[in-house]
Structures are given as structure tokens and as C-alpha cells.
């Protein structure tokens, strides 16, 4: 609810400013936003169905055991490795991450999972090699894996 309030306030504010500056541009922006929303809404609903099913099948006890606050370094490592290997689009991974936190996973573990998911791509490595060459592509992935670990640890300290 709190988050929704942030969005509503911010979007009303930016819309008003934008409208004041340029009416036509604002309407064009609304249209663009509406189009993007239309494109995403069905896949999004499918994800919600999938997450609801998964939450029913995977017992919360299991998530807490392997990724919860008490899981320590092992939970952190599982999250980092799974995040590096799998390829899950952002708008799917966020609902999953939110439900992980609700079930008792730590912020640090979720941060490392999200970051490796976004920055390290084992599955897409062959493609990346074609663009950058072997050395650079592997270097980038290793470096980003390290960066993701640092982000995870720092988030754990901050939050």
C-alpha cells in the first residue's frame, strides 16, 4: 500500500509538471505508457498464476530452511549460483523475490539472487562471446559475479 502511494504521488506530480510544460508531449507519453502496459499485462498475469501455484507446491518451511535468515553462507551461495545460471526475466523474478522475503528469506540472499540473475549469464555466455570475444566475455561475467557478491553482503549490512 505504501509503495502504491509513492507511485501515485510521483506519477500525478510528474504528469502535472509535464502537462504544464507541453500538453501534446504528455498525451503522447500517456499513450506510450498505455501501450507498454498492454504488452506486459497478460504475461504478468501468467507469472502471478505461476507464482501462486509454486507457493502452494513449495512449502514455506523449505524456503526458510534453504534461503532464510538462518541459512547463512550456504543459502547465500545457493542464491548466487542459481541466479548466475538461470535466465528469468525481471518482471518474473521480482514477484518471486517478494514472496521469498515474505517466506523468510534474508534481504542479502534476495539481493545476491536478483543481482546475479541480472548481471551474470552462464546460459547466454556463448552469445556474449560472439560479441566480445572469449576473454572479455568471461572476464565480465567473473567480475560481475564478484560485484554481485559484494552487493549482497553490503545490502545485508545496510538493511
Amino acid at each position: 500500500m505504501n509503495n502504491a502511494l509513492i507511485f501515485i504521488t510521483f506519477s500525478v506530480f510528474t504528469s502535472l509538471v509535464s502537462f504544464f510544460l507541453d500538453k501534446d508531449k504528455t498525451i503522447l507519453g500517456f499513450k506510450k505508457g498505455l501501450n507498454m502496459f498492454k504488452n506486459i499485462v497478460v504475461p504478468f498475469l501468467n507469472v502471478l498464476i505461476l507464482v501462486s501455484l509454486l507457493l502452494f507446491i513449495v512449502p514455506p518451511r523449505l524456503i526458510v530452511e534453504y534461503l532464510g535468515a538462518g541459512s547463512g553462507a550456504i543459502g547465500f551461495a545457493i542464491a548466487a549460483i542459481v541466479g548466475s545460471i538461470t535466465l528469468i526475466p525481471g518482471f518474473i523474478s521480482y514477484p518471486i523475490a517478494a514472496s521469498l522475503i515474505k517466506q523468510g528469506a534474508s534481504y542479502s540472499t534476495v539481493a545476491v539472487f536478483m543481482t546475479t540473475l541480472m548481471m551474470v549469464g552462464v546460459v547466454t555466455l556463448p552469445l556474449e562471446i560472439k560479441y566480445f570475444g572469449k576473454k572479455v566475455a568471461i572476464m565480465r561475467n567473473v567480475l560481475n559475479f564478484v560485484v554481485a557478491i559484494i552487493i549482497g553482503i553490503l545490502i545485508g549490512i545496510i538493511l
Binding site: 505508457g33 504478468f44 498464476i49 572476464m139 565480465r140
Partner: protein, 177 residues
Amino acid sequence: MTKKTFQKIKPYIWLLSFAVFSVVSFWFGFDPGKTIYRSFTESFVEMIIFIPFLFIIVGLFDVWFPKEKIEKYIGKDSGAKGILAVIILAMLQAGPLYGAFPVAYILFKKGASVRNIFIYLGAFSSLKIPMLGIEIGYLGLNFTLARTLVALPLFIATGYFMEWYLRNKKFEVYEIK
């Protein structure tokens, strides 16, 4: 059913099956089905109260900050301005990281520095505005702010490191046809 009508309903096949499943579950009092439906509506409400507003913001960003304008500032000697430009450019994109590789090629062709190309990839991976919006919606403003503020300096450091690592090597981004 003809092939044409199937093609038409194909995107909605999951939604339709789920609707049928839920109705049947409630009809016959199938408890797991009811639980799954409740958890679905809960997350649906959670989503629908912020996603439309998120897209208003994204749409407005798109018209006020056209990508073509920013691309002008990413040259070799662009310094801090160049770093800022690639970060903003990356934030305006959408899609998974492998969608950024062709853009990296274009940046390379346009004369972007090694450093800026890797800063771009870092920012693209996890600072895209639509994704930040979804992240705030699901994980909260505190989490998103903390993650962003921790990640940004690390991405810039990665760019500098790659520049140093490749200082005596020939670096090239290849085009894939």
C-alpha cells in the same frame, strides 16, 4: 476449433485455464484450488495498484528524454559527462542483458570508450527505469535505493577495471548478422 481461433486465444490460454480451474475449485469445494486462487488475487491487487502508474512515469520519461539526444555525449574523451550519459541511456532501455550486446556494438562503432561500454552494460543490467519501478513495488523503496546506491559505484569501478585490463589489448565488439 479452427487454427485461426486457436491463434487468437493462445496468449490467454493460461488465464482461461486458471479461470476454469478456479471456478471448478469453488464449485466443488476443492481447497488447494481455493488457496491458489486467493494467493493469486492477493498478488494481483498488489500489482494493479502500482503498475499502471509506473507505466505513466515510464511513458513520460520516454517522450522527455529521447535516447538519440543522449547518445551524442558518449565519446572517448567524454569524462564524467560521458559516464552520466551512458548510465542515463542504459536506464531508458528495456529487456534482458543480452539485448544490450547489440547496443554495445553500436556504442563501440560510435566511438564510446571501453570504460563507458562496460558501465553501460552494468547500468543496463540492473538500473533500467521500468525494472526499478517494479522493484520498488515489490521489494520496497529502501531495498531498491540501497541496492542502486551500492551497485552504481561498483559498475563504474568495473568500467575502469576493464579499461585497465584491456589497456594493451585490442578490444573490439563484433557485429552478429
